[in-house]
């Protein structure tokens, strides 16, 4: 008498197992390959506004985000010569900036308008510059990258028409910028941090205007030069601050106790396949066992 070979899987078992395994293997693979959706970032940049035209009266400034009606239009009223705002943090994107004379209705076409594209971490100064007859809106990109080796950075924003070309330096003779023309800005100059006396001398004049200021290491400054009632009016603005000494690189903040090379989704997918296959086998076995023949 021959006995069936228990080590050979018979035809019905093979058929029962193969099809569900194939289907569930496909499902398991797609499940394992699913990755969670990336989190939505909302990076910001910084924008400030300035009125740098000496003979232009006060204006109202309108700021809106192009193509994004969820951004409520910002209106800043009664902005006069020499006023430079603080930075406003805004989501990245392209903004429309319009200036109208103080009190004009929004339906009146703006005196000036321009666009500014704000990038992540970027900083921009949007200024009405030049004499009234030739006034324009300029977008200055403020380079707030870290000064090297924890020094300071200073630049000049020249909005004085009374001293149209001037030299700017430190009291020790170190120059910051030379022959700076009206309605322009200079590049940032790196200087040692400390208490400094800044000197401004217009070309063709021996009048020197000074300003004492503390420049902190790791910080970035703009010197705003304006016409005042008694000559030049100076304002030192801290554009951005940072710590005096920044860390170098990242931080070792993990010991690996939760790290595993196993992808939990893959495990669940594979486990699902295996369990389904086993169940299919079990049910098929039950059927076979209760068959009459």
């Amino acid at each position: 008498m021959t006995y069936p070979n228990p080590h050979r899987m018979s035809g019905p078992i093979r058929r029962t197992v193969a099809l569900p395994l194939a289907v569930l293997a496909a499902l398991g693979v797609s499940f394992a390959a699913a990755t969670p959706a990336a989190a939505e970032d909302a990076p910001v940049g910084y924008v400030r506004l300035a009125h740098l035209s000496p003979d232009t009266p006060k204006v109202d400034v309108y700021v809106s985000k192009l193509g994004d009606s969820s951004f409520k239009e910002q209106i800043f009223r009664h902005v006069g010569y020499g006023v430079m705002s603080n930075y406003l943090a805004v989501p990245v994107g392209t903004y429309g900036i319009a200036m109208r004379l103080e009190g004009q209705a929004p339906s009146v076409p703006p005196t000036l308008s321009t666009q500014a594209t704000v990038e992540a971490g970027g900083a921009y100064t949007v200024a009405g510059v030049g004499k009234h007859a030739v006034i324009g809106l300029k977008v200055f990109v403020d380079d707030l990258t870290r000064p090297p080796a924890d020094k300071s950075k200073v630049r000049v924003i020249q909005a004085s028409v009374g001293a149209p070309i001037l030299d700017v330096g430190l009291a020790n003779g170190e120059p910051i910028a030379t022959a700076v023309t009206f309605s322009s800005t200079t590049d940032y100059q790196v200087v040692e941090p400390g208490l400094w006396t800044l000197q401004l001398k217009p070309n063709g004049s021996s009048d020197v205007t000074t300003l004492s200021a503390n420049l902190d290491g790791g910080s970035v400054y703009s010197l705003l030069v304006l016409d005042g009632p008694n000559g030049l009016r100076l304002q030192l603005r801290a554009d951005a601050r940072g710590g005096e000494t920044a860390p170098d690189g990242g931080v070792a903040t993990g010991a690996g106790g939760t790290f595993s090379t196993v992808n939990p989704l893959a495990m669940v997918g594979v486990g699902l396949v295996v369990v389904m296959g086993l169940l299919a086998i079990a049910l098929r076995m039950r059927r076979m066992a209760s068959r009459r023949s």
């Binding site: 008498m1 069936p4 228990p6 989190a39 939505e40 970032d41 909302a42 910001v44 910084y46 400030r48 506004l49 969820s70 409520k72 910002q74 800043f76 705002s85 603080n86 406003l88 943090a89 805004v90 989501p91 971490g121 900083a123 990258t145 870290r146 970035v220 951005a240 601050r241 940072g242 710590g243 920044a246 860390p247 170098d248 690189g249 990242g250 931080v251 070792a252 903040t253 993990g254 010991a255 690996g256 106790g257 939760t258 790290f259 595993s260 196993v262 939990p264 495990m267 669940v268 594979v270 486990g271 369990v275 086993l278 169940l279 086998i281 079990a282 049910l283 039950r286 076979m288 066992a289």
Partner: protein, 220 residues
């Protein structure tokens, strides 16, 4: 004669069936045990009520202060506690310093985060730095869920007895050997925060994670 074969065959099938059921149960238990350890704790994400500054009303509370020299009073003193409700983190803040190579030392405790005390104080203009461990040698640590933060989540720092609120803008991951120092620690026009922990693959030969996760947030 054939009855013997039939009973024998049925016995085999039944054994297969029992073996299959037991195997299925074993696989389910094994997979569940491993997966439960991997997945972050349930309830770690919280309702939208704790998010600060949604798309509809972004950061323009400050618009009124843009031209006026209005003083936003920031409490004085050192920061003492950190709270991130959306990932159920609340911890005291240790003081962190740089080591001899200028690198920021991590907190000594796995349960507490720390702030870089020679840098910007959280709430002052500039980017303040807070670091915490993602895991210890045998389990999760205080910043285990930091990488799940999303833009709009609130991060709070207690200073001088008051809570200062920051809003997450982006969450980024950098390989440690390409860490953008100048970007992470750049000077900023307003008060900002950087939360740092580890992430990515764990290099067992170096006993260190390959990447750093950096959460950027600004004060609102």
């Amino acid at each position: 004669m054939y009855g013997y074969r039939r009973r024998w065959r049925r016995a085999i099938y039944r054994r297969f069936e029992i073996a299959a059921w037991l195997s299925a149960v074993a696989v389910v238990i094994a997979v569940a045990a491993v997966v439960v350890q991997q997945v972050p704790p349930a309830g770690a994400r919280v309702e939208a009520g704790t998010r600060v500054g949604t798309e509809a009303s972004p950061l323009y509370e400050g618009a009124a202060c843009v031209f006026d020299p209005c003083v936003r009073p920031v409490p004085s003193g050192s920061p003492t506690r950190l709270r991130i409700r959306s990932i159920e983190v609340e911890t005291a803040l240790q003081v962190l310093a740089l080591d001899a190579h200028g690198k920021l030392q991590p907190p000594k405790s796995y349960e507490q985060a720390g702030w870089y005390a020679e840098g910007v104080v959280p709430g002052d203009v500039g980017a303040a730095v807070v670091a915490g461990h993602v895991d210890s040698f045998n389990g999760a640590a205080v910043f285990y869920d930091l990488h799940t933060l999303r833009s709009g989540d609130a991060v709070e720092i207690q200073r001088g007895g008051e809570w200062i609120t920051f809003r997450v803008t982006t969450v980024e991951r950098y390989p440690k050997d390409q860490f953008p120092t100048d970007k992470v620690y750049r000077p900023t026009p307003g008060a900002e925060l950087r939360l740092i922990t580890c992430g990515g693959d764990f290099d067992r030969s170096l006993l260190s994670y390959r990447d750093n996760i950096v959460v950027y947030a600004i004060m609102v």
